[in-house]
Every structure is written in structure tokens, then in C-alpha cells.
């Protein structure tokens, strides 16, 4: 049995890989969920067709990062997977149901005609909303901490529900809407693009508000997080994070205003990245917050090693052909499309 445990801190390597996969999921599925969130507000039916077409070739690959997140967590940190899923049972199931409805809507909408098309428009919108909101709730419930006993979840089924998790849920809905609208600025033109610019500005205000609210409430959730961010010299060392977030938000705003094509999306990604890193710093080194560390949750070194070999080989391959697919479908989307 081969194992890299003598050369590598496997748990740390896998923590890096899983968090990267999760981040890729958040930004990639983020923009297509965001398009779903904005869907019914579009000015016309042909706008909606364009919106759908701009993401139709990608959504399936994007969602696969969520499967990798789940599968990877199961493989590399089975204890965390086994504790977190029952703890967040209700929001996880609701998220999955949301994803089911919005996923089939891609295919069904184009096959449907007349009134039944409306059904799938709404399935797409509410499914996306539900998935985004529940992902935010999952994040909130996770950050609040999970009660365990031995190797099992020991809390109640509604433990995840709190003002904080509702807030993170809303925050993510607006966050995804920002990614969705800036994606549309990049991938569409004319009326759809003009409308997307208006959306982006409006949504950005809410993103900034929620970002501030969530950041301010984090230190009150756990004393360690408080002392991490507000003790010297940490405070100054971590200061670039909020400063950069503010910079990206400001830049995104101006990029939208100056009618840039790519800037709004890229700066929005910057906002997401800063918040994600900030969250990562706050929660380090917990795999299940405040109970189980990444090393305690780690799978056997042999198991982590086997999958690491595959990941090191496959991840660059996956990223390459994913990039190829984005390249094939580069440029602006028309509202007519067929296959």
C-alpha cells in the first residue's frame, strides 16, 4: 500500500483541494444560478432565451464541481461528510430539489411550447433561488458550529436555522445575482446587456450591505474568530482582506458604469475570492467548525494518497478541457439556438 504521509501533510493538501473545488463551484455555478435568479425580471422573452443560451452549454459542467465537492469530501474527510450532511439535512435536501427543478428546466423549457413554457421558466427561477438560498443557509449553519457526540451529529434538525443563516442565505442570493448579471454583461449585447448593467448596479449595493453585515456578525459567533481578527498584530496583517474587498466592489461599480465588458465579472469574482479567503481564515483549522479539525476528519492516508494521484493527473486535464469548452462557446450569445 503506497502512501504519501511521510512526505506530505495529506490532510492539509486535501483541505486545499476541496476548498479550491468548492470555490470553483461557487463562482461557476454561481453565475448560472445567478442568471436563474434574475430570469423572470428580464424585459422580454427573447432576452430570456439569450440568458438561457448563454449558460446552456456550461451549467452541467459547472454543477459537476458540486459533485466533486460532495464526492471529494466523502473520500478525503469522510467524518466531516458524515457529520455535516445529517446536521444540515433540511437545507441540503431543499438545495438538491431546487437543483433538480432548475436543471431539467434547461432541457424542458426549449422543448415546451406556449403556456407550459412558463412552468419551466418558473421552475428555473425558483429552483435557482432555492438552491442559492439554501447554499447560503448551509454556509451559515456550518459557520455557527455543529453539535456532535463522538463521531455523530447530536443536535436538532432545525439547529441550522437562525437570523445569521437566513442572512447568509440572502447574501448568497444577491452574490450569485451579481455574478449572473455581470456574466450577462459579458456574454450578451443590446437590450439584454443594458438591462444586465442596471441589475448589476442594483444588486451590487445589496452585496456590499450583506457583505458588511455578515463580516460584522462573524466575530460575535465565536470568540476565537473575534480574537483572530481583532488582536494585534493580526488586525493589521489581515487588514488587506477587507480593503481589497472594498476595492473590488468599487472597481466593479465603475466598470459597470463605464460600460466595460469583462471588468464587472472579473471584479465580482475578486469580491467572492476575498470573502472566501476571509471565511477560510476564520474557520481554520476546523473541518466541522469548533469540533473537528482537518486532521481529525482526514481519511486514512492510503485513501487520501490514492485519490491524490488521480487528482494530480486529472485536475489539469479537466481544467484544460473545461477551458476548451468555454473557448468553443466564446463571444456573445444570440437568442436563437438549436441542436
Amino acid at each position: 500500500m503506497f502512501s504519501f504521509e511521510n512526505f506530505l501533510d495529506l490532510a492539509f493538501v486535501w483541505y486545499g483541494l476541496i476548498t479550491t473545488a468548492m470555490f470553483l463551484y461557487v463562482i461557476l455555478d454561481g453565475f448560472d444560478l445567478g442568471v436563474g435568479i434574475l430570469f423572470p425580471f428580464a424585459p422580454s422573452e427573447s432576452c430570456r432565451d439569450r440568458m438561457m443560451n448563454s449558460i446552456a452549454p456550461f451549467w452541467d459542467g459547472n454543477e459537476t464541481w458540486l459533485v466533486l465537492g460532495g464526492g471529494g469530501l466523502f473520500a478525503a474527510f469522510p467524518l466531516a461528510y458524515a457529520v455535516v450532511m445529517p446536521a444540515l439535512y433540511i437545507p441540503v435536501i431543499l438545495m438538491l430539489l431546487g437543483l433538480v427543478f432548475r436543471g431539467v428546466a434547461f432541457e424542458f423549457r426549449f422543448k415546451a411550447s406556449g403556456r407550459s413554457r412558463k412552468i419551466w421558466d418558473y421552475a428555473f427561477h425558483f429552483g435557482s433561488m432555492m438552491a442559492a438560498f439554501m447554499q447560503g443557509m448551509i454556509l451559515g449553519g456550518f459557520v455557527q458550529g455543529i453539535r456532535i457526540d463522538g463521531r455523530q451529529f447530536a443536535g436538532g434538525s432545525l439547529d441550522f436555522l437562525s437570523a445569521f443563516s437566513v442572512m447568509t442565505g440572502l447574501a448568497l442570493v444577491f452574490g450569485y445575482a451579481l455574478l449572473g448579471s455581470t456574466w450577462l454583461i459579458m456574454k450578451t449585447d443590446e437590450t439584454t446587456q443594458e438591462w444586465a448593467r442596471k441589475c448589476a448596479k442594483y444588486v451590487l449595493i445589496f452585496v456590499v450591505i450583506f457583505m458588511g453585515l455578515v463580516s460584522l456578525s462573524m466575530p460575535f459567533i465565536n470568540a476565537d474568530i473575534r480574537s483572530l481578527w481583532f488582536s494585534l498584530p493580526n488586525f493589521f496583517m489581515l487588514l488587506p482582506m477587507p480593503v481589497l474587498s472594498a476595492f473590488f466592489a468599487y472597481s466593479a461599480w465603475y466598470a459597470v458604469k463605464r460600460q466595460k465588458e469583462y471588468g464587472p465579472f472579473l471584479y465580482s469574482l475578486g469580491i467572492f475570492l476575498m470573502n472566501y479567503i476571509g471565511l477560510g481564515i476564520s474557520l481554520w483549522p476546523w473541518m466541522v467548525p469548533y469540533e473537528i479539525t482537518i486532521w481529525q476528519a482526514a481519511a486514512a492516508p492510503e485513501s487520501q494518497s490514492l485519490l491524490l494521484v488521480g487528482t494530480v493527473i486529472m485536475l489539469p486535464v479537466i481544467l484544460t478541457y473545461t477551458a476548451y469548452c468555454y473557448y468553443v462557446f466564446r463571444g456573445k450569445t444570440s437568442h436563437e439556438e438549436t441542436y
Binding site: 452541467d60 454543477e63 458540486l66 459533485v67 473520500a75 424542458f108 486514512a300
Partner: protein, 468 residues
């Protein structure tokens, strides 16, 4: 509220429901992807428009099916944790990496190149498009490789040890991946998927011939399907028999339930039909063929076959479900082989495409593959009970600490959602079938434009050559 509900039973029903729903789609897409690759190859080779029409019709059906498969599959990747958290914790070291490899090697491949396959007509060369189809087909096979390896390990575990902490640890990966039942299960499932697709395609071809529509296309569909029925359908009972012998060696209680045998005996009869009664420990009203069971299972007239009474009651699988599902699966297998034989005779007499009763026969068998696949999986999974990892870990130990009420409510939600989606999906697939191949492509939805360029600024830049 609802405290009388048993969380283990509910978790099992929920998982059985979501996984059964899911398997319907891969069972079809595995075969369909490979078949589409063949059709596209024929098109590139011959340049005949008929193959292009067939491809374009079936790729739409593929897309609808694949979409439903993806969303129901995402659900499953989280249900190991939501429903079977103790199992995930204890067995994660062994099974986790297999599922991880499935995602890394197969899921991304399928999902990414599906986009090219569906929307890439005017954007990539015909060769690249063909490559995308092949890659998707290959991805579906790779995916089944890993998931069947994981499932087979749960049936015939090896290459592991259990430490004092109660967790499973891998000791030999090759033994884990290529566990004793894996190769049989893999071959059996891939053939089943190919046959499922063949009978759907053949059924649709027969439907067109019956209605005297699209007859040229229909001949290709029915003809290719019957090639599968003639050459592949007879292979399935052979693989199935080998799989059964392997099961007899490793999971004899499952075989006893399949056969409905209670007493261990030499020269055991084959119970054709009957009513297995678990309380009375006998199969009532049994219609038997003497000694045949021994002959099939041990290849000797007087070979010994173990009966269910060999095991205490709490180590036996539920008998009736396994017994009946097995008969449904075998029955359909026989019908498929028979179809191949009839097709061969009709082909000989040059009446394969004009015999009306055979068209009705093929139409009736359209859903047969799905039923056989589901029945076969019921045999395999229910027959593994009461264990989740055969002989080592019981299903009852594996369940998550989630309130029964929550499982019951989410089960209802899944049933409602899936019923709605399945109904809609079937309806759209039927509409695509009725619309038929080669009808001018009204663009996506109801716009009425013909194959417009995908992207406005690239409209003039499409690469040359015929596009599929």
C-alpha cells in the same frame, strides 16, 4: 409527530426510490451515447443525410434523458451522507476514493463534452464533433466502471481490514476495485444498458414502420436494434449465468432467495413460480422442474444447493421481492432472445420490415429493458439485505441520526418532484418521437427559425464541411 415511523425503513425507501429513479436514465444514456457514436460514424463515412437526421433526432432525446440523469445523480452524491452517515464514516476510506475517481475521470468528461455534442454543430469541425460524441460515450462507460466497482465491493468486500475504532481501512486497492463480483456485474450492466437502448430504438423504428412514416429512417433504427437483439441478447443469459454462479459462491443466501429454496438439498428443483411465504418458511403453490436448479447452479444433477433455512431468520434477505424480481428480469431476457430469433427468421424471409405483428411486438417491448434493469437491481440490492456491506456491516447500523419525520417529509417531496419531472420528461420525449427524424428543425422552442448561427459575431466564421 410521526414517531411510529422507523428511520431505517424510511431511509431505505427513500434511497431505493431516488436510486431507482436515477438508474433509469444511465441505463438508457450509456447505450444511447455509444449508439449515437456509431450513427455519427456512419454519417461521416457515407455522408448519407439519413444518419444525420437520425442523430439529430436522438441526440435531443439523449439531452432530455441525460439532464434528468444528471440532476438525479447529484442528489445521490449527497444522500450517502444525509441517509447513511454512519456508513459514510466507517466505509469512507474504502469507497470514497472510488466515487472520487468517478467524478474526476467520468463526470467532468461527460458534462463538458455534452455541451459540444449538443450545441457545437456550427462551432467545431465534424471530426471534433464526432470526437465529442465518442468522449461522452466513453465517459458513460467509465462512470459505470467506478460506480459498479463501489457497489460490487459492498456485495463482495475484500482488500480491507477493520481496526479497533470500527472503521474500514484499505489494504489492497486492486483487490478493492477488482473485487470478486465486479467484472460480472460490470459486463451484465453494460450489456443491459445496450439492450435497453436497442429495444427503445427498435420500438420507435417499429412504430414508424407501423404508421408508414419515415420508413427509411425506421429501417435503420429497427435494423440496427435487431443486430443487437440477434448478437447481444443471447450473450446476456450467459453473462447472467456466470454472474449467478459468482453470487452462489459469495452470497448463497441471495441465490436461495432468488430460487425460492428453503431446504438445503441435493438435486434441488427449479421453482418456476410460487408464493414464497417467510412465516411458513416454504414456497407455496410451487410449480417445479425436478433437479434443474442443481443442474443450473452446480452443473450436476445431484449437486447440493443451500436453502434459506441454512441461515437464521435475521440473516435472510426478504424473499418474495427477490424471487419475483428475478423472474421478471429473466422473463424479459428470454423475450429479448426470442425477439432476436424471430428477427433472424423474418430477415431470412425478407420480411423483417413488413411484418405487422412483429412491429407491434417490438413496440410492446420498448420499455422492457428499463423494467429488466430495475428488476435486476432489486434482486441485487434487496438480496444483499440485511447487510449494507455484505456479511460485515448491517444496514440498520448504517443509518444517519436524522429524525424519521424529516426523512418521511423529504421522501414525499422527492416522490412529488420526481413524478412531476418524470411525467414531463416522458411527455417531451414522446413528442420528439412523434415529431420524427428529418423534419425541418424549428429552432429551439417556438421561434420557427432554421438552424441559426449560435453566436451573432461568429455567424460568418463557421468552419466548412457538412455539419451533423
Amino acid at each position: 409527530m410521526l414517531d411510529f415511523l422507523d428511520p431505517v425503513i424510511l431511509a431505505r425507501i427513500q434511497f431505493a426510490f431516488t436510486v431507482s429513479f436515477h438508474i433509469i436514465f444511465p441505463a438508457f444514456t450509456i447505450g444511447l451515447a455509444s449508439w449515437l457514436a456509431v450513427v455519427e460514424w456512419r454519417y461521416l463515412k457515407t455522408g448519407k443525410k439519413i444518419y444525420q437526421d437520425i442523430y439529430r433526432m436522438w441526440v435531443k432525446i439523449f439531452a432530455v434523458t441525460f439532464g434528468m440523469g444528471v440532476v438525479s445523480g447529484v442528489v445521490l452524491s449527497y444522500q450517502f451522507g444525509t441517509n447513511w452517515s454512519v456508513f459514510s464514516d466507517r466505509v469512507g476510506n474504502v469507497i470514497g476514493p472510488l466515487l472520487g475517481y468517478e467524478v474526476l475521470t467520468a463526470f467532468f468528461l461527460e458534462a463538458s463534452f455534452l455541451g459540444v455534442m449538443l450545441f457545437g454543430w456550427n462551432r467545431v469541425s465534424p471530426r471534433m464533433h464526432f470526437a465529442a460524441t465518442i468522449v461522452v460515450a466513453f465517459g458513460t462507460l467509465l462512470s459505470s466502471f467506478w460506480i459498479l466497482s463501489a457497489n460490487s465491493w459492498m456485495q463482495t468486500p475484500q482488500g480491507y481490514r477493520i481496526d479497533a475504532d470500527g472503521l474500514f481501512y484499505p489494504t489492497d486497492w486492486l483487490q478493492v476495485i477488482f473485487n470478486p463480483s465486479f467484472s460480472y456485474r460490470f459486463a451484465h450492466m453494460v450489456l443491459a444498458a445496450y439492450l435497453t437502448t436497442a429495444f427503445v430504438v427498435g420500438g420507435v423504428g417499429a412504430f414508424y414502420l407501423f404508421r408508414n412514416q419515415y420508413t427509411q429512417h425506421a429501417r435503420v433504427m429497427l435494423g440496427m436494434a435487431m443486430i443487437m437483439a440477434v448478437f447481444v441478447a443471447p450473450l446476456q443469459p450467459i453473462i447472467g449465468d456466470l454472474h449467478g454462479l459468482n453470487t452462489l459462491k459469495h452470497q448463497p443466501a441471495k441465490v436461495a432467495a432468488m430460487e425460492g429454496l428453503w431446504e438445503t438439498q441435493r438435486g434441488a428443483p427449479l421453482v418456476l413460480f410460487g408464493w414464497p411465504d417467510e412465516n411458513r418458511e416454504e414456497t407455496r403453490y410451487a410449480l417445479e422442474i425436478p433437479k434443474l436448479s442443481s443442474l443450473i447452479l452446480t452443473h450436476e444433477m445431484d449437486g447440493e444447493v443451500k436453502g434459506l433455512k441454512e441461515w437464521p431468520r435475521d440473516e435472510r434477505p426478504p424473499v418474495a421481492g427477490v424471487f419475483w424480481s428475478f423472474r421478471v428480469m429473466v422473463g424479459i431476457g428470454v423475450l429479448m432472445v426470442l425477439t432476436g430469433i424471430i428477427a433472424l427468421v423474418l430477415f431470412w424471409r425478407k420480411r423483417l420490415f413488413s411484418t405487422r405483428w412483429f412491429q407491434i411486438w417490438c413496440m410492446a417491448l420498448t420499455p422492457s429493458g428499463f423494467i429488466a434493469v430495475l428488476a435486476g437491481w432489486f434482486v441485487s440490492e434487496v438480496g444483499r439485505q440485511p447487510y449494507i456491506v455484505y456479511g460485515v456491516m448491517r444496514t440498520a447500523e448504517a443509518v444517519s441520526p436524522v429524525a424519521a419525520t424529516n426523512i418521511a417529509l423529504s421522501l414525499l417531496a422527492f416522490i412529488a418532484a420526481y413524478t412531476f419531472i418524470f411525467g414531463a420528461g416522458s411527455y417531451y420525449i414522446l413528442r420528439l418521437i412523434i415529431k420524427g427524424p428529418g423534419t425541418p428543425d424549428t429552432a429551439y422552442g417556438s421561434h420557427g427559425l432554421q438552424s441559426p448561427p449560435l453566436v451573432t459575431d461568429l455567424g460568418n466564421e463557421t468552419k466548412g464541411g457538412p455539419h451533423v
